[in-house]
């Protein structure tokens, strides 16, 4: 296997936000208190004309803008991971591929693994690139996730995504290793044809999120002979602000190590976009030599862990060719629940 890593990345979050107190007001719940408990102070909402296709495309275009020397025709694979693909049958990835002019000599597929479909795509690309099957692979995690009205998920389920160009040349962040921990654990699911997911309530915690993340993380520590102190930054899946903060502590990470990688308090849970977005924000701030620990989590369930080292190449990287996440997230527009319901298509319209 060749050395494989991140050649470029791009991240996008829609402009609209809603606060938990606004949602709570509708359902007779102390939304502010709920937000505080979950550590989610606002969440992103997609415009009615945005979906996983448009979010993934925007992220992918930012990614390509930063590597103008990369010919999109050299992209051999595109995987878009999401649990809210606009079509049940008809890939998101082909639309994104067309929009960045990577078609037609390439492979593409949509991935689904709850909140870790984005990192699963990175792993798939690593395999293809590392084996020499393709020159570049693109992995995107993006979601416009749905929470049932009044359900706890409504306070967190948000929208956003990030795209990664995986390759072997001019790598700005080398992926030293990746591994996964996977079991059959039904903590969260959505049946075919159903608009909203269901979840196992408190069952989503210990046996699901915490068990899988800590298991994958410890496997990584063991494989690399490292501890939390060997990393400058860590990014964990973040269904809320509370879980990643707690799991980071359990694994020995200090709060400042997860600061850049923890976006959920400000944008909500972007599901498949969550870890890719957190990593993007870390890379927005990273310097050569910085080591990054990443562990995603997808319900159902599994965790993908990554050990990453930022290279000197990041100094030549044209990051400013596209807006960094802080700029993307600046200037949000706050909407009320009525507007939110309209944006999310929760109002029954006439044909």
């Amino acid at each position: 296997m060749m050395d494989v890593g991140i050649v470029s990345y791009g991240a996008y979050v829609p402009r609209y936000r809603i606060k938990p107190e606004e949602i709570g007001k509708i359902w007779g719940v102390d939304g502010k208190g709920m937000g505080k408990g979950l550590m989610i102070y606002q969440k992103s909402v997609p415009s009615p004309d945005e979906d996983v296709v448009t979010i993934a495309t925007e992220a992918a275009r930012y990614m390509m803008a930063r590597v103008p020397e990369v010919n999109p025709q050299d992209i051999g694979a595109i995987y878009v991971g999401s649990e809210s693909h606009p079509y049940a049958v008809k890939p998101t990835s082909t639309i994104v591929a067309e929009a960045i002019e990577a078609t037609p000599a390439m492979t593409a597929a949509d991935m689904e693994f709850a909140c870790k479909a984005g990192t699963a795509g990175i792993q798939a690309c690593m395999g293809l690139v590392g084996s020499g099957m393709v020159k570049y692979g693109v992995a995107i995690g993006a979601d416009t996730s749905q929470g049932a009205p009044g359900d706890a998920l409504e306070y967190s389920a948000s929208a956003g995504g990030a795209a990664y160009l995986i390759g072997t040349e001019k790598v700005i962040a080398k992926i030293n290793k990746t591994l996964s921990f996977t079991t059959d654990t039904p903590d969260f699911w959505r049946r075919e044809g159903q608009p909203y997911p269901l979840h196992g309530g408190r069952f989503t915690g210990e046996p699901a999120y915490f068990r899988h993340i800590t298991s994958a993380a410890k496997m990584m520590f063991e494989a690399m002979g490292t501890t939390a102190q060997d990393y400058k930054y860590a990014v964990f899946h973040q269904p809320n602000g509370k879980f990643p903060t707690r799991v980071a502590g359990q694994l020995g990470f200090a709060p400042e190590q997860i600061e850049y990688g923890l976006l959920t308090p400000n944008i909500g849970n972007t599901y498949s976009g969550a870890v890719p977005l957190g990593l993007a924000n870390v890379l927005d701030h990273a310097e050569p030599g910085d080591r990054i620990f990443v562990t995603s989590y997808g319900s159902g369930a599994g965790s993908d862990a990554f050990d990453i080292t930022v290279t000197d190449e990041i100094l030549n990287y044209k990051r400013d060719n596209a807006p960094v996440l802080e700029k993307v997230m600046a200037d949000p527009v706050y909407i009320d629940y009525g507007m939110y319901a309209k944006f999310k298509g929760k109002i029954i319209m006439s044909e």
Partner: protein, 134 residues
Amino acid sequence: MSSVAREWREIPGRYNLKGTKCENCGSIFFPARDFCPKCRRAGIGKVVPYNVCRTGKVYSFSVIHEAPDCNNAMKPYAVAMVQTDDGVLVSAQLVDVDLDKIEIGMPVRAVLRKLDADGASGVIHYGYKFVPNL
């Protein structure tokens, strides 16, 4: 339900502002034309693919309050004629913008957004819209 093929064949223009250029007179065409209306016969065979610039400035604009059904959830929404940096005028929606802050001359860039869909079970149409250029 509109024709799937009709939308499909316009994908290069709709997604990526792919136009054409007449190598005889230098004119840029968007949407793409295979026949140069300026050179006519002299331009035959000399009209080549051309990628129109995805950044530009607002040339004129309007905020639509009476919208087609497909855009009910978006209204009021803005439309603009955008003069791209290579001088082409393109009419499209202007989104993610504060409606009272739109000005002629405002810098914008093209993004991909949903234009409409053939109902809940039909094909979704994607195409360019403009957003303020951060």
